[in-house]
Amino acid sequence: MILELREVSVHFGAVVALERVTLGVGRGELAAVMGPNGAGKSTVLKAIMGLAPVVGGQVFWRGTPLVAATHDIVKQGISFVPQGRRVFTHLSVIENLELGCLYLNDRAEQARRLESVLELFPILYEKRRDMASQMSGGQQQMLALGRGLMANPEVLLLDEPTLGLAPIVVKEVFEKVHEINERLRTTIFVVEHNIKGVLDIASRAYILDKGRLVHSGTPQSVQDTSILTDVFLGRLNVGEGEDTD
């Protein structure tokens, strides 16, 4: 595993968001974390990024504990695309992308990365001079993905990349995520509520329920069992009495 959570617990006061969760992603893989609302999916990524209070366990990066502050994690090779796109709406597409690696202070390298990202996302090239606020939700998601790639990460963390998008756009986003994983060999750790779409492109799957890991295996193993149905219909007796919102 290049990036791994071992026995990680995250508590927000009395609220248990994650309890002794162990999961990870191998180099070049596309690992998907799924589960119903409040399962703690996004908290997994936040724990990696130092945005959630880890009260037990540890995050490991290339086999050693990841102890960097949030603003240093991207420099270690982990890039995060947050939920809801969160592009800088008052900046242009190019300015948004450049912010993905301005910390480098190497203009030639920034220009090289910009060129390769614009090549990967034709829509961003087409809209490169537009303000991010003028883009549609799907285009903004592409921009968020592109901005994440500007850091030239080894691992890309994606938090609900298809949230709030139209079905046709969802398909495009999954295709692009798959392309990034296949073509750039970028390891991807994606948290997603769209089970069907993400299982089609994932190489490893995890299912969370009420802050606990209830299944891990291949995408096929998820489809071969009734685990998803049980989780989404509340048939599993996991962490009774605990709120994971």
Partner: protein, 351 residues
């Protein structure tokens, strides 16, 4: 939203066809605000004469330095501070204390140290002093944001005023400091209003230049990112606290320079020049001109100075009510602005 300026070719086409130009610009509030304020300034100065215009120019330059520097913090970084007047005061008092040579021993407050420095030696110290105070205050403020930030900056304005008022061994409290030195190069003393205005304008140009450089740089881009979404800026490798602290200190140093110029121009300062109301007026100027625009801050400062001075000549307004009336008019203007144009005259963002 950004609008791109028309090309020179397009401008010359419009110049040849004024009716078309008028039709196109009819709804352009920014253009009309610029034209109105600048035209009013020119007419007002022609009407009142050169001497008045020169004084007005100095007042404008000082307010402009303050509003441009505050806009770096409020507009470009998204930290609504109403404590900026404190740094203005630190700069003013630093220059006053370092340059004044008055024998205070004869006065009731007792002796305060006198140094007799020249203005140009004291001014950089004023900037550094304001920067140091900002650094200390900023380290404490960095943990706050949004509404709490407004409240703590409010507290700083109150505290700084009380320090100026009560630290009498250094500031002479309510008695103020007299005979602040004028700028001097060799035997050339900047003693006339024109020379002082040129000096203030030169400092303003430096402040504007530095501000423009900051907002045009990658540092400025990160400030914009922090204003829009601090957490995402952090995720992308920018230590937001450091950036916020840096711009806060730079902005305070600029305010310190404005304060130094102010005390040298008036040659006398007391705590009444650094009350909370001045800070509120300053924030109003920034909002009036527009957030995250240097030109807007200059325009806002010009509009404010014209409003402030212009009201003195309203025939139906007795002189004793002018001061209060200015505040009322500015208040009404701000309310109207918030309702009809919350991004300010030429701003890009709403507060």
């Amino acid at each position: 939203m950004l609008t791109r300026p028309p090309s020179w070719q397009r401008l010359s086409e419009l110049a040849r066809n004024p009716l078309q130009a008028f039709a196109l610009s009819r709804n352009n509030v920014e253009l009309w605000a610029n034209l109105l304020i600048i035209t009013f300034a020119v007419v007002f100065m022609l009407w009142k004469g050169a001497t008045f215009a020169v004084t007005l120019g100095t007042v404008f330059a000082i307010w402009a330095m303050l509003s441009v520097s505050l806009n770096l913090v409020v507009g470009f970084t998204g930290l609504l501070s109403i404590g900026h007047i404190g740094f203005f005061g630190v700069g003013a008092y630093t220059v006053a204390i370092l340059t004044s040579t008055t024998a205070y021993e004869n006065l009731r407050t007792g002796a305060i140290p006198t140094f007799g420095w020249p203005f140009f030696a004291a001014l950089p110290v004023a900037a550094i002093a304001a920067g140091l105070v900002a650094l200390l205050v900023g380290i404490a403020f960095n943990r706050f944001r949004d509404d709490i930030y407004v409240l703590v900056s409010f507290g700083f304005a109150i505290i700084s005023f009380n320090v100026f008022l009560n630290l009498r061994g250094i500031t002479r409290g309510a008695f103020g400091i007299h005979d602040v030195a004028r700028p001097q190069i060799g035997s050339w003393v900047f003693d006339t209003e024109l020379e002082l205005m040129l000096m203030a304008m030169a400092l303003m140009v430096i402040v504007v230049g530095i501000s423009w450089f900051i907002v045009s740089s990658s540092f400025g881009r990160v400030l914009t990112a922090i204003r829009e979404d601090e957490q995402v800026a952090e995720v992308f490798g920018y230590h937001a606290s450091h950036y916020k602290l840096a711009v806060w200190v730079i902005s305070a140093m600029m305010a310190g320079v404005a304060g130094g110029m102010f005390s040298s121009w008036t040659t006398f300062i007391d705590p009444n020049s650094f009350i909370l109301l001045e800070s509120v007026l300053l924030v109003s100027i920034v909002i009036l001109g527009g957030l995250a625009t240097i030109w807007g801050s200059l325009l806002g400062a010009l509009a404010f100075v014209l409003l402030e001075e212009g009201m003195r000549f309203l025939p139906f307004l007795p002189q004793e009510y002018v001061g209060q009336a200015r505040q009322v008019v500015l208040g009404i203007l701000l309310v109207l602005l918030m309702v009809f144009r919350p991004q300010g005259l030429v701003g890009r963002y709403k507060l």
